[in-house]
């Protein structure tokens, strides 16, 4: 009935720490439709990676997840059994991690690791799995794919390892692909190639993509819709063109001012900054979390920020209506 591949409603993640519960993710909601690219953007510690781990059910033991609704293709994930989650994970929902060096097992050849996913979920025999592995390695631009299957991760460059990760995530034709900073460790030339590849594969296979990044350049070029996260919350959510044309939350505007934009920022000109630091997420947060760093802050911000809409798909949380 619903077109959404992923529905997230009021997702929270709380991590137990010696000094009290840390609210890493606080009541965030978004959904992703088939063939759509949604970005979660924010700085370190904003909860974007915790969100992806919470969706995949890969949170560390100290972290607790709660959600009003967490559904994959209409099926509830929050209450699903471990067995069911294991069936879906790797098969219909897959993840690409930031560090291919730590995400790949150094003791097995990449062929073993690619085939294992397929063998486990599809049970169609190793020959078919192997054919698919070769097909996908070629698809992600790896030359002499058949020989590469016998190589170990350490024999590949960073760019190639990341391609292997992408190929692995596609072994079972997933409906949802979560990519957590997939190109952060790579050179610009390789980054462009990997992102193009993701976009092409997405079009070809109709995958719903959740891309987690801190890079506004990547967001602008890849996303259909963007959620800006700050201190565990989504503070602004918009179609990509709207976000860049009319950034409405002061944090989003602050972020955009921080990066030099060729043609707009004069060389050597002083860049914008966001003074202060992210508040501690341990214990409760009163009011708007951005208050202490916000140029527009006023007393009432301590009581929280209302959700405002500039149009049907563009919403932000702020006491001040964006001009």
């Amino acid at each position: 009935m619903s077109q959404s591949v992923l529905e997230v409603e009021d997702l929270s993640v709380t991590i137990a720490t010696p000094s009290g519960p840390l609210q890493a993710v606080r009541n965030i909601s978004f959904d992703i439709k088939r063939g759509e690219s949604v970005c979660l953007v924010g700085e370190s510690g904003c909860g974007k990676s915790m969100t992806s781990l919470a969706i995949m059910g890969l949170l560390p033991p100290a972290a607790k997840r709660s959600a009003r609704r967490l559904a994959f293709a209409g099926e509830d994930l929050a209450g699903a059994s471990m067995k069911r989650i294991n069936q879906l994970r790797g098969d219909r929902m897959a993840m690409i991690f930031q560090e291919p060096m730590t995400a790949l097992n150094p003791a097995y050849t990449i062929g073993d690791q690619l085939i294992e996913v397929h063998r486990r979920h599809k049970q169609q025999g190793d020959r078919i799995a192997r054919e698919r592995a070769v097909y996908l390695l070629e698809k992600v631009g790896i030359a002499s794919a058949a020989e590469r299957l016998g190589q170990y991760p350490h024999q590949l460059s960073g760019g190639l390892r990341q391609r292997v990760m992408i190929a692995m995530s596609l072994m079972c034709e997933p409906d949802l692909l979560i990519a957590d900073e997939p190109t952060t460790a790579l050179d610009v030339t390789i980054q462009a190639q990997i992102l193009r590849l993701l976009a092409d594969l997405q079009k070809e296979f109709g995958v719903a993509l959740l891309l987690i990044t801190h890079d506004l350049g990547v967001v602008a070029r890849v996303a259909d819709r963007v959620n800006v996260m700050y201190a565990g919350e989504i503070v602004e959510s918009a179609a990509v063109a709207d976000l860049f044309a009319k950034p409405s939350h002061p944090y989003t505007r602050g972020l955009l001012d921080c990066i030099p934009i060729p043609g707009k920022t004069a060389p050597g000109e002083e860049l914008g900054t966001i003074p202060g630091t992210v508040p501690s997420l341990i214990g409760g947060i009163q009011g708007c979390a951005f208050m202490s760093r916000c140029p527009l802050a006023q007393g009432v911000c301590a009581e929280g920020a209302p959700l405002r809409h500039t149009n049907d798909t563009h919403a932000y949380r702020c006491i001040v209506e964006a001009a």
Binding site: A192, L216, G217, A220, L256, C258, I261, P262, G268
Partner: protein, 328 residues
């Protein structure tokens, strides 16, 4: 013209090569990796020289040689005309200082900030009371007030740590600061603060920077001149404005075309370069870029292009020396 170009030269590299012996496993012979190969480079007083290129192109090896941390295998490096191999280690360290990428590993976790920052002065034999005074003054200059002086790095955020690294680099009044990816480990809102600080300090103290980065938007913003490296070679050098306006080397074009500027609706560019990077242990003959070059033609496969200067700019590409065959 030539005179004015050499007059302001603070640091120069001529034919600098650095090789490493790479082990190929227990029983096979080690092979030679040419990390930097015959590089000529001038750093002029007061400029910000950006060095860009993919990982493994030799930019960090180049930085280490500029800092005197690695001797070149051949070629010479001169600081104001003096061969640095003949300079006392201490003098080079006083005049050329580094800021490294990762402020989490570049600061000693067991020393206080003032002691970290005063270490270069200790090496120079400055008295201890003066050391403390100067290090506290320098910490203040980089935006860390006196109350931080007895803190430890673990009490600081990444941006604050990078400020400490900058204070340490500047405390001995160096002429050149070699910044190797100084903002790559930082969040964007912190990155802008550090870039602003670096620019402000340069104006105030008349510093010269060698600024190594893979972030081309940052290089375009902060550098006055840019050198592009590919697989150990210098392939292009020119002023920042010129490089970004009209790149000449096909590799520079590819690099610039790959930059994802925050402009929605443009999609991810296709720079048209083969994805397969060459093996640095076995570099291709002729121009090292030719197997990936969208504009390669016959001489590229056999003849090694030299870096040819043309006024302020220099490029190592046959397109500019044998243009008759390259009209297409």
């Amino acid at each position: 013209m030539n005179k004015s170009a050499t007059m302001g030269t603070l640091l120069e590299m001529r034919g600098v090569t650095r090789t490493f012996q790479v082990s190929q496993g227990l029983f096979s012979k080690s092979r030679t990796l040419q990390a930097v190969d015959g590089v000529d480079l001038d750093v002029k007083r007061g400029e910000v020289l950006g060095i860009v290129g993919e990982s493994g192109c030799g930019k960090s090896t180049l930085a280490k040689m500029l800092l005197g941390l690695l001797p070149p295998s051949s070629g010479t490096i001169r600081l104001e005309g003096q061969d640095v191999s003949g300079l006392p280690r201490k003098e080079l360290a006083r005049r050329v200082q580094p800021v490294f990428q990762d402020p989490y590993s570049s600061l000693n976790p067991r020393r206080t900030l003032s002691s970290i920052v005063s270490l270069p002065l200790e090496v120079q034999g400055v008295r201890s009371d003066e050391r403390r005074e100067r290090s506290i003054a320098m910490l203040d200059k980089v935006g860390l007030p006196r109350r931080f002086a007895d803190n430890y790095p673990s009490q600081l955020s990444g941006g604050q740590r990078q400020r400490v690294a900058i204070a340490r680099a500047l405390v001995s009044n160096p002429e050149i600061v070699v910044c190797d990816e100084p903002t790559s480990a930082l969040d964007v809102s912190v990155q802008s603060q550090i870039l602003n600080l670096l620019m402000e300090l340069r104006r105030e103290l008349g510093l010269t920077y060698v600024f190594i980065s893979h972030n081309l938007a940052v290089v375009e913003h902060i550098a006055t001149r840019v050198a592009v490296m590919y697989l150990g070679r210098m392939v292009e050098q020119t002023t920042t404005a010129e490089l970004f306006r009209a790149p000449r080397h096909p590799y520079t074009e590819v690099l610039l075309a790959s930059v994802l500027t925050p402009e929605p609706g443009l999609g991810v560019p296709d720079a048209g370069m083969s994805a397969i990077a060459p093996d640095p242990l076995n570099p291709p003959p002729g121009c090292r870029f030719h197997p990936r070059c969208p504009k390669a033609f016959s001489p590229c496969t056999t003849q090694d292009p030299r870096l040819v200067a043309d006024g302020e700019a220099a490029v190592a590409c046959h397109l500019y020396t044998q243009p008759h065959t390259a009209a297409a």
